[in-house]
Symmetry: C2
Subunit: 307 residues, 2 copies
């Protein structure tokens, strides 16, 4: 099978952990073990998020005032280098003799995407309300609530086209394990047949779904730190969903948090390609493929099944 995985932030950092390099390295080792097990049996393409990391790069840029902060497309590119390197090295260490490569990936977006008017993508650390208000005032950042805290939010347009698609296909044919579309890809717009960077952070689940579609992948695995999608999450009547069609899942309501983009991306991939998407915990990845863990989204179920 050809599998595209979308790695959430927790592949590099557990929720609330500080953004230290050593911690990320340690976490990536565990992530790499889970991914290597998958890569021993399947073709594997790895996409990853960059929310905490690109936020850190932005803060480091702001802190060094002698040089103007670099635009977000360049910081996205830096984050592809940073995160791609850590994953590539550790997955490679788990699989001696296999080629593991990171390809810088530009993703074309529409400069008129409504996302540019309404930033929604949280990046960087969490702030108290007081800190958030000060940052909004002093730096012109957009700030939005995030669980019990606040975070900076930036535009997150829809991915339209993968600039390096041909080379991604070619590298896959060579049996390499490929890291691409990192941080959702570097957002660019097309003007007069030229590419120009644009300030945004594309949602990595949407980008992973687009890559999975364009590669004709058999499965899209969206890996996060919860075991499954739940109805009434955190309530006494919480029900974990085992298997659901995209039409049923797409009509359900998941307020707040980061589950929304995962569900949208899964539903779109399954509806358009009649293949499988699974949302679940990174470390259950084998069980997710076998139907023993996570929430499967496919056409092969009668509406919905619970655990």
């Amino acid at each position: 099978m050809l599998i595209v995985v979308a790695l959430g932030g927790n592949a590099l950092l557990q929720r609330g952990e500080p953004l230290e390099a050593e911690l990320q390295h340690k976490n990536v080792k565990h992530t790499a073990q889970a991914l290597a097990a998958l890569a021993r049996q399947h073709e594997l393409v790895i996409c990853h998020g960059n929310g905490p990391q690109v936020g850190l790069l932005a803060l480091q840029n702001e802190a060094y005032t002698k040089v103007k902060s670099y635009p977000l497309d360049v910081l996205d590119a830096e984050s592809q280098g940073m995160i791609g390197y850590l994953i590539q090295q550790e997955v490679g260490n788990q699989l001696p003799g296999r080629n593991v490569v990171t390809l810088l990936t530009q993703i074309v977006v529409d400069a008129n995407d409504p996302a540019f008017q309404k930033p929604t993508k949280p990046i960087g650390p969490v702030y108290t309300e007081e800190q958030a208000k000060e940052l909004a005032a002093t730096r012109g950042w957009q700030i939005a609530p995030d669980n019990n805290h606040f975070r900076r939010v930036v535009p997150s347009p829809q991915p339209k086209e993968i600039v390096e698609l041909d080379m991604i296909k070619a590298l896959l044919k060579l049996d390499s394990i490929l890291i691409c579309g990192g941080g959702g890809g570097i957002p660019v717009e097309r003007q007069d047949n030229k590419l120009i960077g644009i300030e945004a952070v594309i949602d990595k689940d949407n980008t992973a779904a687009l890559i999975a579609e364009k590669l004709g992948a058999d499965a899209l695995l969206i890996l996060t730190d919860v075991p499954a999608v739940s109805e009434n999450w955190g309530q006494p009547n919480e029900k974990k969903i085992k298997h659901v069609t995209p039409s049923v899942l797409g009509k359900m309501n998941f307020p707040g948090g980061s589950m929304g983009p995962k569900i949208t991306a899964s539903c779109r991939f399954v509806e358009r390609n009649k293949k499988l998407a699974v949302i679940g915990n990174l470390f259950d990845v084998q069980d997710m493929l076998e139907g023993k863990a996570g929430t499967r989204v496919s056409m092969e179920v009668d509406a919905i099944e619970y655990y």
Copy 2:
């Protein structure tokens, strides 16, 4: 012909220009025009330096004190993303329909390389003597003179092995223009068949020469901001070298500055492979190939010829 170019810092920043993103973007457009002309006629692999950029990343890391500075190998990886993206986008804009890709590249070095005891590679901005002394005292940096100023210096071990060599070869066969070995590559050491990052910045001319050798390239072009290698540089009796054998060039003395590594890398490549190396100005690249500009290093000359 298969050509490997090593782009000096001036491909992105003229000497003394501030490290602003917009300036780098503007400079990369000119660089891309020169490289695109080459790529229309030849197979092209692009290596580039990262001295100013990795220095900036280090300063930004130091300035944001809430998170410990990331190690140099991770910053090298970030710089591959940053610079690779800028070059890839602009070269691609010059050559619609061609594939231009950046592959993250790890380079194995020897952890016992004497360079780790004696840092020599300048990174980041120039400082006055007073600033330099303060930075050495407060940050534990090694500082060394650089022309009339001072700069931070870091270890620069010899590149030994290109981890992603097979994929570089494969991408070249697909007629892509390939950016790899950026910033001299991400330095790693091999321990028990695993790769581990190590804090250093490899010289990009040495890495380009190694890549050229391993790919069997016909020519190594070392592109900088001087028109040629000169005897008695800056003196009334300055003599620009047109063509020279590696054995003659290798015995000449070029005190200070950054010409040393370019000469060492050129001589080694030509001696080992009996091919051509040329050192010259980025914007003379076509004339350099035709023998009309730059300093040619090859076995096909009787000792030395001057302009």
